[in-house]
């Protein structure tokens, strides 16, 4: 499809013309602005057409494992766009932004209750930035205790962000293998835990969609050792109203508001991050904190131990409005979300178990991992592309790395039984096609643009449009 740069049209003039030039020294002035003008009708057609080349939750079942692609209630969009929020300048003094501070305060309060943590920071923009903040806090905490701890323990099933974050903060990652039941191997963990371990970073349920069965023992060993327990809460959609990560022994955890609390994923963001900590780490959270004084919300930047600041202002505030709205909609019924998310995953897992290799045959949490290794190498990518032909988005594939030809499927609670039945039927059909007409699957998708050449993209880099003049 044509790029937006390839139109030559007249300007719609949203802004009155300003003929008068600016009075700046020539050496500071721009000589040439290589943009084009496109009229509004063409802009509408161009981006509407592009939107139609995209699958979203609104148009297609989107069982992308680890991403919690649940329905995004539209009313929350309206609420975030209320003028009192969307037009509010971030430098507005707290006295004139009481509603905004109350949103942050109430969301923190609800998240504390759901996770059992004692304090939250909503400054991070996404889960990865929460991890970075968490590891920075751990680093400062141990530095102040004059303890030299250089290692972070991470299971081999973990998201890549976990070791990437550890490395950013100059910690060494100790990778623990997964045992036959899909848990972090407790014997290997025992060998690894020692006085140099700062943090034990665990995703629970883990990325295999399984509850960590040795968590209680791991927690005891970590505590005895003086290490901090960090929970990657990407999979919190399994635990809402059922079990609190603080009760499981975690000292810190992050939530992805765009996953569990249904703020739209927006094609890859904005996300929303929330880092929760136990009270002994509260003073390390970024400033400003919000406190309540005489029924007024005020900013508090006077925190000596704080690691500092990780956002230009207060985080992705518009996302916080949506997350609070979502939480208020469910209120005390929130456990239904996780119960049905777990039911949907287990139901679909049972429908597919006979057809695929099952690396860990246990009851799953809100997602599960199956393997297409029995259908030959590269069959997972072929199945994923063929799924698109049947009108579904593909699951997460080739992750976790420890499962060969992995398909990681997370249906979420907002999908009906009919959709799950249909998805299972489609996967069974594709398996049949793989046997009867393998070329059909290998050359898929057939209903969308053809399979795209990623090798060519990386070898012959074309990362931008170039104007002809230059």
């Amino acid at each position: 499809m044509k790029l937006i740069f390839n139109y030559i049209q007249s300007n719609t003039k949203h802004i009155p013309s300003q003929e008068k030039d600016v009075d700046l020294p020539e050496e500071l002035k721009r000589r040439y602005l290589p943009l084009c003008d496109v009229n509004e009708i063409q802009i509408i057609r161009h981006y509407t057409e592009l939107s139609r080349k995209n699958y979203g939750i609104d148009t297609n079942f989107y069982p992308l494992g680890s991403c919690t692609m649940k329905y995004n209630p539209r009313v929350n969009e309206d609420l975030a766009k209320l003028q009192g929020f969307s037009d509010l300048h971030p430098h507005m003094p707290a006295s004139h932004a009481q509603g905004a501070l109350q949103v942050i305060w109430e969301l923190e309060d609800n998240l504390k209750e759901i996770t059992g943590m004692d304090a939250f920071s909503l400054q991070p923009s996404a889960g990865s930035q929460c991890e970075l903040l968490g590891v920075m806090i751990a680093k400062k905490y141990f530095a102040e205790k004059n303890e030299t701890r250089t290692k972070i323990i991470i299971p081999d099933s973990a998201h890549g962000t976990n070791p990437a974050t550890a490395a950013m903060c100059k910690f060494q990652t100790v990778t623990i293998p997964t045992d036959d039941r899909g848990n972090m191997d407790i014997n290997e963990f025992k060998k690894a835990i020692g006085p140099d371990v700062a943090v034990v970073m665990i995703t629970n349920p883990n990325t295999l969609g399984l509850y960590e069965e040795n968590l209680s023992e791991i927690k005891d060993l970590a505590k005895e050792n003086g290490s901090l327990m960090y929970c990657d809460g990407a999979n919190m959609n399994a635990l809402l109203g059922i079990s609190k990560p603080a009760d499981q022994g975690f000292d810190m955890m992050h939530l992805n508001l765009h996953k569990t609390f249904s703020t739209p994923h927006g094609g890859g963001g904005p996300g929303g991050g929330a880092l929760g900590v136990r009270s002994f780490l509260e003073d390390y959270l970024p400033v400003p904190r919000i406190k309540k004084e005489n029924e007024q919300f005020v900013f508090d930047s006077n925190k000596e131990k704080s690691v500092g600041k990780i956002h230009s202002f207060y985080g992705n505030f518009g996302i916080l409005v949506r997350a609070l709205s979502y939480l208020k909609s469910w209120g005390s019924d929130i456990q239904k979300v996780s119960q049905i998310a777990v039911l949907n995953a287990n139901y679909l897992f049972c429908l597919l178990k006979e057809d695929f290799d099952v690396p860990y045959d246990r009851r799953c949490a809100h997602e599960f991992v199956i393997s297409a290794k029995n259908f030959g190498e590269k069959s997972t990518i072929n199945i994923a592309k063929r799924i698109i032909d049947y009108g579904f988005h593909a699951p997460t594939i080739y992750f976790p790395l420890i499962v060969k030809e992995a398909l990681m499927i997370e249906p979420t609670e907002t999908e009906s039984k009919d959709t799950l039945d249909e998805f299972a039927r489609v996967l069974k059909t594709i398996i049949k096609e793989l046997k009867e007409d393998p070329e059909l699957v290998k050359n898929s998708p057939h209903t969308t643009p053809g399979r795209l050449d990623e090798v060519k993209a990386a070898r012959q880099l074309n990362l931008r449009w170039m104007p002809k003049e230059s």
Partner: protein, 417 residues
Amino acid sequence: MNFIPHTKEDISKMLSVVGCSTLDELVSEFKPKLSELKIDNPLSEIELVSYITSLSEKNSAMKYFVGGGSYDHYIPSVINHLVSRGEFLTSYTPYQPEASQGVLQVLYEFQSFICLLTGMDVSNASLYDGASALAEAALLSSAHTKRKDVFVDDGLNPEYLKVLQTYCDGTELTITNTIDKNTACVISQTPDFYGNIKNPQGLIDMAHQNNALFINCISDPTSLAILKTPGEFGADVVVGEGQAFGIPKSFGGPYLGFIAVKQFLTKKLPGRIVGMTMDNQGNEGFVLTLQAREQFIRRERATSNITTNQTLLALTATIYLALLGKSGLQNVARASYHRAHLLHEKLRKNGFDSINTNPFYNEFLVKSPKPSEKIIADLMECDIFGGIDVGDDKLLVCCTEKNSLQDIDSYISAVSK
């Protein structure tokens, strides 16, 4: 509310397939089981709208003469209509390019726009916000030069400096006040926090003489419509905040971090990058590319840990730039410039001292003849948020094309009471 489509019959049928008799039994493995959840009762949509609206109304509505990292530019109506389309809004990172050509082409256009505006060679598909984009640029410089010192020029947004300091502490970099053979990068903001447009050439030369990278940070990128590009000056990295491109102020987020580099740093870029390629039928298409840099492949050897970024805001900025086009963006910049200079002149005539040592764009610093708290309070009485108090009775004032001549007159009459 209830966003679960299941009937009771569905649930019992599904439970029997799973081999459980109740939902509680299904989740019995998740321990320790919580005893009670102290959360308010669920709200229906009508109750929710009423409640959240009441919170929004506790915030004051003002006319803004304030920037400092968030700018009150006009947002054309079309943007919200297009950005709200569910196909964009409810999709995720384009891992399956065949089902994501829409978002991928948008990001390719975004990368192109950022390069065209900054005069740089390559842009990524977005970072979180201006401050963390700057911090990522410092990390990139350290990885590229294998050095650990970061030099920051005067006039960097103080909030950005705090974020940079936090990242430096966590990643073991040091902010120093000299440029030498240990310097990984030299950071300078244009215009700087106080509005000054400084010629960066001297700093760029000093950086390059020491084999350090020069990072130019942009706070209001509408300024790029009239200012010589950082690329042309010789910057190696340009980062900044894209909020000015059609994104609501929204109490500080979600905003749009951007980063663009010269060719030789392409493989050091953090985050997602979209590239053009071909499909198996010979048609042009787009994919995420250079993924070998990223955390999900390289894990502890990744260039950054960033995953989810700000795609929907990159879409917003792309549509904004397409809508305004060349003449629209120039009009925004010229109007912002002229309104700011008009207000500046009127303030001088009313006893305010001009503090800027350099030319300014749409933001300037004045010293107030009265205590700045009083000036700000007087303006607030007239529903005008008139400036950022930077101490010592100095006010940082900003104008955009939205500040009308009447607004400027109201401002002057409020401060000359």
